[in-house]
Amino acid sequence: MLVIRSLGTFYRKRRILIDIDMDLKTGEVLSLVGPNGAGKTTLLKCCVGILTPGEGTICIDDQDVTCLNGNTRARRIGYMPQSSPSRFPMTVFDTVLMGRRSHMAWNPSRHDLEIVETLINAMNINHIAFRNFDHLSGGEQQKVLLARAFAQEAAYILLDEPTSNLDLKHQFELMDMVARMAATESRGVMVAMHDLNLASRYSHRIAMLSGGRICFVGTPFEVLTPDIIKDVYGVTVTVTRVNGHPYIMPSTHIITDRRSNT
């Protein structure tokens, strides 16, 4: 279990995360939602070691993550960044293979290559496997980065807005894949995302962040209520039930609000 206890971070003396307590179990998909600047990305970056937490602990099976060396951590926690601006050419295959870095010495083994191939096939990107990463569309790039995160074969995987550049079909394709991996390989997945309906459709639990604090954690039905959403986003919504998931629809007068802002 990935356990986060009283985590806090600062950026230039400003508090970004305040007193975060959270657990991520294996086999679970947990969504981090909340307004822009709520601290979703910061929380993920703390867990991966990109940022150093100012206070509190992040533990995997009672082992402090911040004390692990880079390779060990990379084998425990996989990470998919929001985007990866690339300056130099690198093929899709090589990019996914980078996910194996913490497992391989210098030369990829047959096993490493098989994992990469399986993931590329599973993501449906085998037709572009030897194209340059930076020549791909934003959606294709996100699939490649997801494959790279899975290639780490970590028990916990953190995804930072994995669907932000994807169209409807690819959003569902990618999230189906994530859900399947979480269930069949019992991995714990934490996903930061903006789309509340997508979060509702795929998450076991949702954590709502606002102003650097976790204000609500629970099942989609517990968290995605009109009151909480009004409270956090300042938007009036109607929540209905569609196919067993809560479905969020903003009420009409939000449009007048927006007009008065511009």
Binding site: G78, S84, S86, R87, L113, E117
Partner: protein
């Protein structure tokens, strides 16, 4: 539609085999250029005579080959190798396609270090002092550049402008020494401003090769880390790379290589910028292949430039740095104009 198992792996292996073939071919090209360089010169030894003199003592020809031409060729190989390798390292860790020992001013500062050692230490010409001083100055500029790169809001252009500033600073410091120096000192350092392979002996070559080749295995071992560093810091950290340590080790090694490549021959521009780009076009961005490809290209380019410089207006020898500028400046323009969209 899922592909057949093994097809991607087979294709990956085939691509790598092709890259390996490129390496072998480039090595052959380099040897070829070296042999051509061996036969060209003011003394007309002919193909057969020149090659024969390598192992048979043929009197004057043997002396010309072993004391004049072979040192030149060996130094060209070492310098080209080092500059190209250092350029590849700088481009990856600074994530900057315009980075190279020359454009970042690191070559100029190493040059200044050597010039300072030559001028202040006249009377006792000591290659250890020259090389060591060149290394220290290169190191200083490398960390200055790294500091600029890590400043908030620093862009590709900021870094290159900082490099130009450093280049100016150290070039004028070198000029100052030239201005203040005696006639003999000026004569000893003037070749610095163009780069010259004419003055090296086997002792210097031994020193320079040690500085260039000893760091190679250490850099090569970090190839995978370079692959990730060239993408972005977040990816590198999340895949387990200790980016702070890797950057510093890489900078120290690249400074050592740069100093080794130029401390006895002066600043040769553009090889370190051009070679990694051409190498990337041929073998792609995987540093396991990129490093050796760039290095072999660098050596071949310096060998070719030197041969051209020696034969174009023979017996007049055009300094190597001038020849490489003729190749390099148009290439730099090309990078600035055409590749702009792709790179930044």
């Amino acid at each position: 539609m899922a592909g057949e198992t093994g097809t991607l792996i087979r294709r990956y292996r085939r691509l790598n085999a092709r890259k390996l073939f490129v390496l072998v071919a480039l090595f052959a090209i380099m040897i070829g250029f070296a042999l051509v360089g061996l036969t060209q010169g003011s003394a007309n030894l002919g193909w057969k005579g020149a090659i024969e003199s390598l192992w048979r003592n043929t009197g004057d020809a043997h002396a010309i080959i072993w004391n004049l031409r072979l040192p030149r060729i060996a130094m060209a190989v070492v310098a080209g190798w080092g500059l190209a390798l250092a350029g590849t390292v700088f481009q990856a860790i600074l994530r900057n396609p315009l980075a190279s020992p020359y454009t970042l001013g690191i070559a100029s500062s190493a040059g200044f270090g050597a010039v300072a050692a030559i001028v202040t230490g006249t009377g006792f010409y000591n290659e250890y002092v020259i090389a060591g001083n060149a290394f220290l100055c290169a190191l200083f500029s490398s960390f200055l550049i790294l500091g600029v790169a890590r400043m908030k809001g620093s862009t590709t252009e900021t870094l290159v402008l900082a490099g130009i500033a450093i280049m100016f600073l150290f070039s004028s410091l070198s000029s100052l020494f030239q201005y203040m120096g005696t006639k003999e000192e000026v004569h000893a350092i003037v070749f610095w401003f163009f780069g010259s392979l004419s003055k090296v002996g086997w002792k210097e070559i031994g020193m320079a090769s040690a500085m260039v080749f000893v760091p190679c295995p250490f850099i090569y071992r970090m190839s995978l880390d370079f692959n990730l560093l060239a993408v972005d810091d977040e990816s590198a950290v999340s895949m387990g790379v200790n980016i702070g340590k890797t950057r510093i080790v890489a900078l120290v090694l690249a400074s050592l290589i740069t100093a080794g490549a130029i401390c006895f021959i002066g600043v040769i521009g553009f090889i370190g910028l051009v070679s990694p780009h051409i190498a990337r076009m041929i073998v792609g961005g995987d540093h396991r292949y990129l490093f050796p490809t760039a290095a072999l290209l660098g050596s071949s380019l310096v060998l070719a430039a030197d041969t051209v410089g020696r034969t174009l207006w023979a017996p007049q020898v055009i300094p190597i740095g001038i020849v490489t500028s003729f190749i390099g400046v148009p290439f730099l323009f090309y990078l600035l104009m055409r590749r702009r969209k792709e790179y930044w």
